[in-house]
Structure formats: structure tokens, C-alpha cells
């Protein structure tokens, strides 16, 4: 169904995980409290957890199967591509829409927040994110032409990419193979030439790798990366001095003060800068911090509702741990609370319920205003640092 490119093989297995991977039943021996076991999650990442974690993951598999049935039933009822017609571009006047379209749009938003089943993810992401549209504006051979044109070129970006390939989710049964490395390399190198301002930024290796695992075809993963960087996220997140990322961090700090004042005040008193933990979340889009299905549930909403979702989810992680955070005394304790929480967050609904029901509305236009407000301060701070460093170099020369 989604075949076509030459990067199939082993990954077909993942598509049929429902049938092939038996429900994991921890053995008698591992039932002892806090016994840690290693197991594979829905996307074949090896994770470690205790018996409770294994059980949670089994429940998640069950929920995913259920969501699959819901989606298939809707397809049968409304037609195979019903969600494409339900997509309401923000530029369109809502009053000019047919009632049925609006109903579908509301259904779709709710449905996506409950999760897109893994086997439908490639198709739904590709259309709803705008990747399909982006691809349709260039000749069909764009990706293959790009890849063959840059194959033997060596740039600082390609060197860094080569350095990072074996360091990207080492141990994953497909990503960490010569075939997986080659595929990831083509996507990252290809993109580094498509946008030379971004080139290659560490962090994109994890994002592109997870896109490959989900999309299953390399070319579609490439277009997802393109739409993500060019349309979904704020610009300059990954360019020279990560200025976009600095802006997001400042916006996030203000949101935390507003939405979780007790936590913000306590962390402030500890002189804990939340960027210490959040930077990685925003650059890797949680792929390095949360279990794979939980990350991908965030991405489901990210591709449909936009980058504000990252704020909701980041706030939710703090909110979920409020009581524990309020009794921390050291920076290290804060980090440990947060890392333990994210690392074992196997139930996506636990996180997303807080993100969408307990945090309160996040309005895109307000966020955009906040970003505009922070930009000059970020630019000034970055400039100041560069000037200071340059003056140090001048001193040395003189």
C-alpha cells in the first residue's frame, strides 16, 4: 500500500507488528517489584522498564488497535480520504463552509488528538501536514535528482552527518544497519543542500530517523522533514545560532509563569533555568526524551495543529510532576524528576490529557505575538555574545 521506494525490507515487519509481536507477558521471575526488563516498543526501540511499564505498553497496544478500528470504520462510512476534505485551511472563512465539512473538521481534530493508528500515520501525516502539496509543486524526480546530484559532495554538513549516523538511536534493528544509515544519510544530506541556511544541525538526525521509521519510504520522510522545517516549526530553529530555538525558550518561560505559577516560582527560587531541560525537547521534538509512541502521538497533533503543541506538551510535563517538583531542593533533583517522568511515559494519553485538558487554550495568534515580542531581545543577546567573543580574539592578536 505504501511501497514504491527501495527502502522497504525489514521495515515491513514493523507494519505488521500487531500480528507478529506477541503481547509481552512478563515472566514469573520478573514480577518481583522494581525488576527491570528490556523489551521492544511499538516501533522496535528497545526500552527498559519494570513490570508496570510492560503492562502499560500492552494497554497502549490495545488502545492503538482500538483506534485503528475507529479510523477504518470512519473510512468505510465517509470514504477513504474523508479527512482530506475535512481539512480547514485557516485562510478560509469558516462561514463559507458546508456544515458537514465543519462537523468532519471537529471530528478529525478530536480523532487526531486521540491518536492516528501507526499503519495509517504515513498516509494521514503526508496529506494533512502539507507535505504532499509541497512535493506536488516540484517535478516527480526532484528527490532522486537531488540525491544523485549531491551523492559524492563533501561539506562540513556531510562530515557532521557521517559522524552522527551511528550515534542516532544506536541499537534500533533497522536504523542501526548499513541500510538504515544509508537511508538516513540521503535524507539529511539531501536536505542540507535543499536549505543551506539550515545545512545540518544536530538533533535533526533524531527527527529524520523517527520520520523514516514512521513513513517507511525515504522520499516521504524527506518531504515530511521539509514541511516540518519550512512550514510547521518557527523559522531559524536550526540555523546558525539557533535563534528560533532561543525565542521559543523565552516564550515557553513566560507561558510556564502564567500557566504553572507555583512551579515557575519554585524553580526560579532554585535558580533553575527551564531551558536546561526544554532545549532538547524543542530541538528533537521530544524524540530523544519520550518513548516512541508517546512522541509520535505528539507529532500527530503537531502536524495538524502546529508548533504551539510543543508548548502544551512541555507545560504538561511540568504540570504532571507539580507536587514532586515543589519539594525539590537542588537543580539535580529537578532534572531527575523530569527525566524519570519523560523516560517512562509509556501511556501517551496520560500526557496528552494534561496537555489539552488541564493546561488551557493555546491560541496560535497569541503565541505569534509573544514570539515577535521576544525576537529583538534574543537577537540582541546573541549579538552581544558574538561581539564579546570577537573582542577577546582581538585582544589576543594585539
Amino acid at each position: 500500500m505504501y511501497g514504491g521506494s527501495g527502502v522497504q525490507g525489514k521495515r515491513d515487519m514493523a507494519m505488521e507488528y500487531e500480528a507478529q509481536i506477541p503481547v509481552l507477558r512478563p515472566s514469573i521471575h520478573s514480577r518481583r517489584a522494581n525488576m527491570m526488563v528490556k523489551f521492544q516498543d511499538l516501533y522496535e526501540f528497545t526500552v527498559e522498564g519494570n513490570v508496570d511499564d510492560v503492562n502499560v505498553l500492552n494497554e497502549v497496544r490495545e488502545k492503538v488497535r482500538h483506534q485503528g478500528k475507529v479510523w477504518w470504520a470512519l473510512e468505510a462510512d465517509k470514504g477513504a480520504n474523508w479527512y482530506l476534505e475535512s481539512f480547514v485551511p485557516s485562510t478560509l472563512l469558516k462561514s463559507s463552509l458546508k456544515f458537514s465539512t465543519l462537523v468532519n473538521a471537529i471530528t478529525l481534530k478530536k480523532l487526531i488528538r486521540k491518536g492516528i493508528p501507526p499503519n495509517l500515520r504515513p498516509k494521514v501525516w503526508f496529506s494533512l501536514s502539507g507535505a504532499a502539496k509541497k512535493k506536488s509543486t516540484v517535478p516527480d524526480s526532484y528527490y532522486n535528482d537531488l540525491i544523485s546530484a549531491v551523492e559524492h559532495k563533501v561539506t562540513p554538513a556531510t562530515k557532521q552527518i557521517d559522524h552522527d549516523l551511528p550515534r542516532t538511536f544506536p541499537g534500533h534493528p533497522w536504523l542501526d544497519t548499513p541500510e538504515g544509515h544509508a537511508s538516513l544519510r540521503r535524507v539529511l544530506v539531501g536536505y542540507s543542500f535543499r536549505d543551506s541556511d539550515v545545512g545540518y544541525c544536530q538533533g535533526l538526525n533524531y527527527v529524520a530517523a523517527l520520520l523514516l521509521v514512521v513513513m517507511k519510504t525515504e522520499e516521504e520522510a524527506f518531504w515530511m522533514l521539509a514541511v516540518l522545517l519550512e512550514n510547521v516549526l518557527v523559522s531559524d530553529c536550526y540555523t546558525t545560532n539557533l535563534s528560533g530555538c532561543h525565542v521559543e525558550q523565552r516564550v515557553f518561560k513566560d507561558l510556564l509563569t502564567k500557566k504553572c505559577p507555583r512551579i515557575a516560582a519554585h524553580l526560579g527560587a532554585l535558580e533553575f533555568d527551564v531551558s536546561l531541560v526544554c532545549t532538547e525537547w524543542f530541538l528533537c521534538l521530544f524524540s530523544k526524551s519520550l518513548p516512541s509512541e508517546t512522541t509520535l502521538r505528539v507529532w500527530d497533533v503537531l502536524f495538524y495543529e502546529g508548533a504551539k503543541v510543543l508548548f502544551s506538551v512541555a507545560l504538561a510535563i511540568f504540570k504532571m510532576n507539580e507536587e514532586e517538583l515543589l519539594v525539590t531542593h537542588h537543580v539535580g533533583d529537578v532534572i531527575n524528576v523530569i527525566q524519570r517522568s519523560t523516560h517512562y511515559l509509556f501511556d501517551p494519553d496520560e500526557l496528552l490529557t494534561v496537555a489539552f485538558e488541564k493546561i488551557g487554550f493555546m491560541i496560535t495568534t497569541n503565541i505569534s505575538k509573544q514570539r515577535k515580542k521576544q525576537e529583538p531581545a534574543v537577537m540582541a543577546a546573541l549579538d552581544q555574545r558574538i561581539r564579546r567573543l570577537n573582542s577577546l580574539n582581538d585582544d589576543e592578536k594585539s
Partner: protein
């Protein structure tokens, strides 16, 4: 400081250095006693803690292992702000990484805490065949700039514990303790904490 009761000190320590110099490997060796050929690339920074006992005091290091790629340097101030110590790491087989290390030293001298204990680590000391930076050069540079210098190997573990221990000894609040003898690593992280930096 006459009291012989245990002193517990928290010390923020930051690792800085060129990409691929082996910052994360040094930390992994120190914190978990392990070495892996392909260490996950660090984004932003990774956090670890490890406790070192020096005589009657224990120093709990809160370690920030930062990302090496050039564009991440704009984030560095967040990690070195308020740090009691820094290890600046270069790769002895790569001259450019030594030049980069010097720039970090300059930046820390200008911006960091004036009492910061700074160590220069020439890592990958096991790869003698590829050596590009002479230890004498690094030693001279370190002396001139008030750093202490060790060549380390995260792979063989050579000088890894030593460099952290040496830092612990030099922390201002420990200065008055008499000649330290030997080092004990305590507070090994639990199984659960051990896996906290795994990929998702």
C-alpha cells in the same frame, strides 16, 4: 574548618569542547564506568551526577555535558553560568579541537565564575599513532592560563577518575583539607537512574 564531620558539597561542572572530542564518553566512563564506541550525539546538554569522596568531604558533581556542534555554542552560557568547575576537552589526534579548546578557555575566563576550577583534558590518549597535539604544548598552555592538564582516555579509563578527583580537591571550599589520600567513588546510580539517559 576544624570539624571532622562530613562536608557535603554540590558542585556544578560543565564539559566543553569540539564535537567528537569525547566529552560524553568521559562522563560515561566517570559516572558509569562504561565505554561505548558510538555514544548518542548530545543535543543541548545531558545531565549526570556523581559523588566523589575526598577525605572527610563528599563532592556531588552536577555535570553538564554540552553539545559540541558550533551552532550550539550560543547555548553554552546557560550551562557554564554558576559552574564551580569546567573540563575543556580536546582530541589529541585533532589540532583543530585543541584550537577550539583554547577559545573555550578564553570565553570562560571572560564570562565564567572567577573562582572556577578549570581542567584541560587531552582525550583519546590511547590513540598515540594519530597524535597531532604534543603534550608539552598543552601543558605549557595550561600553565600559562592557570588550568591543570591531563591526557585522558575514556576508552581505557586512563586519568578519567583522576581528573574529576583533582577538580574536587581544588574546589575552593575544600582547599583547606590536608593531603588527600586515595579516592572512593560512592553513590553509584541505581539501575533505574542508570537508564535515564537512554533513547526513547
Amino acid at each position: 574548618m576544624a570539624s571532622s564531620a562530613n562536608k557535603n558539597i554540590n558542585a556544578k561542572l560543565v564539559l566543553l569542547g569540539d564535537v567528537g572530542a569525547g566529552k560524553s564518553s568521559l562522563v560515561l566512563r566517570f559516572v558509569k564506568g562504561q565505554f561505548v564506541e558510538f555514544q548518542e550525539s548530545t543535543i543541548g546538554a545531558a545531565f549526570f551526577s556523581q559523588t566523589v569522596a575526598v577525605n572527610d568531604a563528599t563532592v556531588k558533581f552536577e555535570i553538564w555535558d554540552t553539545a559540541g556542534q558550533e551552532r550550539y555554542h550560543s547555548l553554552a552560557p546557560m550551562y557554564y553560568r554558576g559552574a564551580a568547575a569546567a573540563i575543556i576537552v580536546y582530541d589529541i589526534t585533532n589540532q583543530a579541537s585543541f584550537d577550539r579548546a583554547k577559545k573555550w578557555v578564553q570565553e570562560l575566563q571572560a564570562q565564567g565564575n572567577p573562582n572556577m576550577v578549570m581542567a584541560l583534558a587531552g582525550n583519546k590518549a590511547d590513540m598515540l599513532d594519530g597524535r597531532a597535539v604534543a603534550p608539552e604544548d598543552a601543558q605549557t598552555y595550561a600553565q600559562e592560563n592557570g588550568l591543570f592538564f591531563l591526557e585522558t582516555s575514556a576508552k581505557t579509563a586512563a586519568n578519567v577518575n583522576e581528573i574529576f578527583y583533582e577538580i574536587a580537591k581544588r574546589l575552593p571550599r575544600l582547599q583547606q583539607t590536608p593531603n588527600p589520600s586515595g579516592m572512593v567513588l560512592v553513590d553509584r546510580p541505581t539501575e533505574r537512574a542508570n537508564s535515564a539517559s537512554c533513547c526513547s
